[in-house]
């Protein structure tokens, strides 16, 4: 906890939650995206529709799920559909406004790697979990937000593997690859927020979290990071947002500890 009264992770989660608008339909990844989406639902966006790839439609979990298919998600959902139906009708069918994705690595165009790092594909240095739903979320949701803690190991000049398409090689390459959706419109880290340059599609810094310096951001980025002409300061988390977020985490910790 900094002397500001909140952590960098809390700043990241709050900034991400604010990016979701009330009434939007959001396909939620597990972990940080799930915390942010549920914070939004419990603060400024009570009618945001949360969908998890396990088939839970319009779910309203009281505690954050550890896995993508926890019972809490099914019990609080409007309805539960099969996984083929989820991917075919709801995602591919164009019903999702925002795909909320985490990542292991991201590049300057918002392409994501969750497959392998180092070595070769068949004999990698680090084998990551793989694609999950992300490749099709990245191209079928109307737009995507990427949520990731910033470090040179995560924000890299070149990905070893592209698991999920962002803006490809920049410019029009995403559309030329066949994607009909907007792709990453926003990246939220624990240091700043980024958005794609309208022409090159390279992610550039648009807001900096309070107390963070440009040097910190540059040092934590594996490519030559650029800043927008008019960079603003990310608004600080409101006391209500922090209280709700901490209560969500406390309830979650109690619920998970209670299962011996």
């Amino acid at each position: 906890m900094s002397d500001r009264g909140y952590t960098a992770d809390e700043m990241m989660t709050v900034a991400a939650s604010r990016a979701l608008q009330n009434g939007q339909v959001c396909f939620v990844g597990i972990g940080q995206p799930s915390a942010a989406a549920n914070l939004a639902r419990q603060t400024h966006a009570p009618d945001v529709v949360l969908i998890y790839e396990s088939g839970t439609l319009e779910t309203r979990p009281d505690v954050l799920p550890l896995s993508i298919g926890d019972g809490e998600l099914a019990e609080t959902a409007l309805t539960n559909v099969s996984v083929p139906e989820m991917f075919r009708y709801w995602l591919q069918g164009g019903r999702i406004d925002v795909g909320f994705l985490g990542a292991a690595q991201v590049d300057r165009f918002g392409n994501i790697n969750t497959t392998v790092i180092g070595g070769t594909y068949l004999k990698p240095k680090t084998r990551l979990p793989g694609a999950g739903g992300a490749p099709e979320i990245a191209t079928s949701a109307r737009e995507t937000f990427i949520l990731l803690r910033q470090s040179p190991r995560a924000f890299v000049e070149k990905l070893d593997f592209i698991t999920s398409l962002g803006h490809g090689n920049g410019g029009n390459s995403r559309a030329e690859a066949g994607a009909r959706t907007l792709g990453p419109t926003r990246l939220i880290s624990d240091l700043c927020q980024m958005a794609p340059d309208p022409e090159t599609r390279e992610l550039i810094v648009t807001t900096i979290h309070p107390g963070v310096t440009r040097d910190q951001i540059t040092a934590a980025t594996g490519w030559d990071i650029r800043f927008a002409d008019s960079v603003t300061e990310t608004p600080v988390p409101e006391p209500t947002e922090l209280a709700v977020l901490r209560e969500i985490h406390a309830r979650t910790a109690r619920a998970h500890a209670g299962q011996a």
């Binding site: 597990i30 396990s54 896995s67 019972g71 996984v83 083929p84 240095k125 793989g130 739903g133 998970h256």
Partner: protein
């Protein structure tokens, strides 16, 4: 059509799972057929092609015990915890055996199961756009829509030799009910040549309502009652997911010796359906 045989877990596995089979164990976080997987390990099945959208602890165990030759998957991890250390050891260091992998996305595998259930040769969907998976998996190809010209992804239909699932209930005629997060289990059973269903209990009346997800007895090969058969995953309406077990698995699986010792005392020396708690 012959109806499902209601039998013991030992006999269900002995009758239906053979060395070299392709084997789907499905259950999307929920209703994962752990007890059946353990029985397959105990019976020493090997050279299997293991198929599962989300290989988690049960595949970590089967791979670490040398059951698998090949893995078909779309997300392999310990959900919310981290890596599957046995799966990684097999991929990265060939222990205990080299493991061939066929890697997909969830959307692709879900479509492939549906195509298998529908009796089609392949699944066609809008996917794999602009990523590297087609470069490492030659079963990912494309077709052109004959009406619009749109390029669409295609992969072969999933047609496993055996599907293994766990559900809440069967009735005495062998009809099976699924509730909660239903994943791809219905599609996996309908796509497979043979199937094993373990259930929490066998009841007189499924009580599912007119739109319940039910697999008729004549779509299933064998059914065995195995209470807690999905532990440490969960069975909606019966018991919750044991998140603490998933966390505890991480240090057990990190080390080859610790893993083998745990498997010996918790799986190999126990009987079918006895559980690992």
């Amino acid at each position: 059509m012959p109806r499902a045989v209601i039998t013991s877990l030992e006999e269900a596995v002995a009758e239906n799972v053979r060395d070299g089979d392709s084997l789907s164990l499905e259950g999307f976080t929920h209703l994962i057929p752990y007890a059946a997987g353990h029985e397959i390990i105990r019976q020493g099945r090997k050279d299997l092609t293991l198929i599962r959208m989300t290989p988690d602890i049960i595949f970590d165990q089967m791979i670490g015990m040398g059951c698998a030759r090949k893995l078909v998957f779309s997300w392999g991890g310990n959900p919310g915890v981290g890596s599957l250390h046995r799966m990684r050891d097999a991929i990265e260091r060939d222990w205990p055996l080299p493991l061939e992998i066929e890697e997909h996305s969830h959307g692709a595998m879900a479509n492939a199961y549906e195509a298998g259930a529908a009796g089609l040769p392949c699944a066609v969907f809008r996917g794999y756009i602009g990523n590297d998976l087609p470069k490492v998996n030659d079963r990912i190809r494309s077709v052109e829509c004959p009406f619009t010209g749109e390029k669409l992804a295609a992969i072969p239909a999933m047609r496993p030799d055996v599907a293994v699932i766990h559900t809440q209930k069967a009735d005495r005629r062998g009809n099976v009910l699924l509730e909660g997060i239903i994943g791809v289990q219905k599609e996996a059973v309908l796509a497979a040549s043979r199937s094993i269903v373990t259930v929490e209990e066998i009841v007189d009346d499924l009580g599912g309502g007119p739109n319940a997800v039910i697999l008729p007895s004549w779509t299933i090969s064998a059914i065995a009652a195995v209470p807690d058969g999905a532990f440490p995953s969960y069975a909606h309406g019966y018991y919750p997911r044991d998140n603490s077990f998933y966390k505890a698995w991480d240090p057990i699986a990190r080390d080859r010796e610790t893993f083998r010792a745990w498997m010996d005392s918790h799986v190999m020396q126990r009987k079918a359906g006895e559980g690992v708690q």
